[in-house]
């Protein structure tokens, strides 16, 4: 089990390289001005380096320059890239008088290892240095950008997950215990709508109803998007009184938070309550539940202690799978509501070709995914003593 986790780890490292290369080539292609500009842009995005070297610099931040041991410099002349390629047969004259004939496509302006020392160096994504943002916040560290967005996403995902758990579990249990009752049928119907309803459509409908129409009708309305308002605003309360909301205040935050949270929660409740219902139904049919009932354990205890605890086991996978959705799980909801979280950052980054940011987010997601696997494996052995780590 652990071995497979490690193999994931090794496997997923590979796509960063070619992906990075592609994206950066395209990035460089966007500005085509003069040969000088091209060389400068290439150097900026390290496009002049050979792919393995570029990947290593992105991934672990090495090589940083020529190797110096005890005042002696080694490998300073190593060619690690090419700044300009020959378009025709070119004669290259070195300072020491050597003359070399370069074929078309060959290199006439090699980048040596020593030159890398003057470049901007990162510590490598493996050690948490995501490099610099190229577009969104020009030349600011990506880490800073992510840090500024992280709290929004954490609050949104955290609260909605908590609410989902609190609501979905009772609904799931009750639907399973009273299968085919009116309650179960209503819950099933709602869950059906919840799983079919695309989050973006649901989000816009909410905006139209609560932000547009409620405002027109003079009802207490909700702000349509963003995390805070720019100006103070007044919310009427059924003609009785009015609330003056200061921009940036706590209430302001809460009011902006309600709708995105509602969308996320509703959609996940639909999925999770179904999941709990089916796994409870499975468990309730088991012999040990019948035994427990036969020996006279109270129904409430049978359900909560004997059945529910066992129904939770498959649920663990689901809970552990939330972790990787932290980055992009709410991407659509965040875009609809203009919520400044990580998901919207990803969309922005892709829209504006800021690939260092996008790759950093992808990398974080993959790490979280692995951590999620690990956690769910550990929780499994805790919850189900029959499973042993081998």
């Amino acid at each position: 089990m652990l071995a497979s986790i490690v193999s994931y780890g090794l496997l997923y490292l590979a796509p960063g390289g070619p992906l990075l290369a592609l994206q950066q080539q395209q990035q460089g292609g966007a500005d085509r001005v003069t040969a000088d500009d091209i060389a400068r842009i290439k150097a900026r995005f390290e496009l002049d380096l050979y792919v393995p070297v570029r990947f290593m610099r992105w991934f672990v931040g090495l090589p940083k320059g020529s190797l110096t041991i005890g005042g002696q410099t080694f490998f300073a002349d190593w060619e690690v890239g090419c700044a300009q390629e020959a378009t025709s047969l070119t004669m290259l004259i070195y300072p020491d008088g050597r003359e070399v004939l370069v074929q078309p496509g060959g290199c006439i302006n090699p980048v040596t290892l020593a030159e890398l020392a003057d470049r901007r160096n990162t510590n490598g994504i493996l050690f948490g240095d995501f490099g610099l943002s190229q577009q969104i916040l020009r030349d600011r560290p990506v880490g800073e950008l992510i840090e500024s967005r992280l709290p929004y996403t954490l609050v949104l995902m955290g609260v909605s997950t908590l609410l989902t758990l609190l609501i979905a579990i009772p609904i799931g249990i009750y639907s399973a215990v009273r299968q085919y009752s009116i309650f179960d049928n209503i819950a099933t119907g709602l869950a059906f709508i919840g799983t079919s309803l695309p989050t973006f459509f649901f989000g816009i409908i909410l905006i139209i109803v609560f932000a547009v129409y409620f405002k027109d009708w003079g009802l207490p309305y909700l702000p349509p998007g963003g995390a805070t308002a720019n100006r103070d605003y007044i919310i009427p309360f059924f003609g009785l009184t009015e609330f003056r909301i200061d921009a940036g205040s706590f209430t302001d935050h809460i009011l902006h938070f309600i709708m995105p949270c509602l969308v996320l929660t509703f959609v996940s409740i639909a999925a999770w309550s179904r999941f709990i219902r089916s796994s409870m139904l499975e468990v309730l049919r088991q012999d040990y539940v019948r035994t427990a009932r036969a020996k006279g354990v109270r129904e409430r205890l049978v359900i909560l202690k004997h059945a529910f605890r066992n129904a939770l086991i498959p649920f663990i996978t689901l809970v552990a799978s939330i972790l990787p959705t932290l980055v992009a799980g709410a991407a659509i909801t965040e875009s609809v509501f203009n919520w400044p979280g990580l998901g919207r950052l990803l969309i922005d980054a892709l829209n504006r070709s800021d690939y260092t940011v996008a790759l950093a987010l992808l990398y974080i997601t993959l790490v979280l995914q692995l951590v999620g696997y690990l956690i769910s494996d550990i929780l499994y052995t805790v919850a189900d003593p029959r499973i042993r780590l081998s």
Partner: protein, 332 residues
């Protein structure tokens, strides 16, 4: 052996109507009221989109500044033409565009689902049937692909692939077919659609493969497989004639769920502004534009969003009906 074949003399006079497995499934499916209604709705939606060029009253991209933002059921005062679902921000007829959008969205959804089911079926079958190193390779690939968060990697891949058009060469005849089906008039637009279809299919097959592998693993150990092998059946024959039909029913349900998933996925993609772009209408990018005018013209979102919801609900109900119909333990 032929000598001991019993002849059912007694039954010859009053034949017992025996029904095949699929007749049973159909009969059970027909009892599921919501599923039947949904199937009907789906047939209508598919029919409308197929006959879009014939039944739409306006050209798809006809821009007319004099008729912007007509509400649904507006009659154009100048021409007396009816705009059933209104017009958009450029004065294009919404009803016309919705039908053409259905063509694109449904083509993407159906083709991607077919492709990914095909990939998943084949790989799952191979992994389950042969086991050993075949299973090892396929399972590791599957885990590797499944590690990527779908939406994130899809957004990135589509963005990259669309910027580098020649990265995946797509044969011209495929593009021509896509152009014909989706009534897209330019070949580079067809390429965009092809890229979206391919990317989704290449990321979506893991669920099907996993399901198929599990089914094949359980079917493989059954006595009838052993007898077929004893009778000298080749691997190919056993797989196609014995394993496949027995592992197939859950795949049908999986197909409908996948169809719905991909439909919503593609809509999200174009809603976020990636993938297929205006002027090619898809339900997703129409909704994207509608959102910009949500404050002044709220009806636009409803008109653009309801088809997605309706189709998605209908597919889900059909899937539900199929699941019940295919499950022999379920009483209907």
């Amino acid at each position: 052996m032929a000598a001991i074949t019993p002849k059912s003399v007694a039954l010859e006079n009053k034949p017992v109507r025996s029904e095949s497995q699929w007749e049973t499934v159909l009969r059970r499916f027909a009892r599921h009221r919501m599923a039947m209604i949904s199937l009907f709705i789906l047939v209508i939606i598919f029919g409308l989109s197929i006959f879009a060029p014939i039944i739409t009253p306006f050209p798809r991209d006809q821009i007319d500044q004099s008729r912007r933002f007509f509400q649904p059921l507006t009659i154009n005062p100048e021409t007396g033409e009816m705009h059933w679902f209104g017009t958009d921000h450029l004065g294009r007829d919404y009803y016309t565009r919705l039908l053409y959008a259905a063509r694109v969205s449904l083509t993407v959804a159906v083709t991607s689902t077919l492709l990914s089911t095909l990939i998943g079926l084949t790989l799952g079958m191979l992994a389950g049937y042969f086991g050993g190193w075949v299973d090892m390779i396929i399972s590791r690939t599957l885990e590797f692909v499944a590690t990527f968060p779908l939406l994130v990697i899809l957004l990135i891949l589509v963005a990259v692939l669309l910027d580098n058009e020649n990265l995946i060469p797509i044969p011209g005849f495929v593009l021509n077919i896509i152009m014909a089906i989706t009534s897209v008039d330019r070949i580079d637009n067809a390429r965009v659609i092809a890229v979206v279809i391919l990317t989704i299919a290449l990321l979506f097959w893991t669920g099907t493969a996993r399901l198929m592998r599990g089914m094949v693993l359980s079917v493989r150990e059954q006595p009838f497989i052993e007898s077929s092998r004893a009778l000298g059946g080749s691997n190919l024959r056993i797989m196609t004639r014995h394993v496949f039909p027995n592992a197939f029913p859950p795949i049908i349900v999986d197909f409908t769920l996948g169809l719905n998933g991909i439909l919503v996925l593609e809509s999200s993609l174009s809603f976020l502004g990636f993938g297929i772009q205006d002027p090619i209408p898809t339900w997703g990018n129409m909704l994207n534009f509608a959102q910009s005018y949500a404050f002044q013209h709220p009806w636009m979102t409803l008109v653009a969003g309801l088809p997605i919801l309706l189709t998605s609900l209908a597919i889900n109900y059909v899937g539900d009906g199929l699941r019940d119909a295919l499950d022999p333990k379920m009483k209907i």
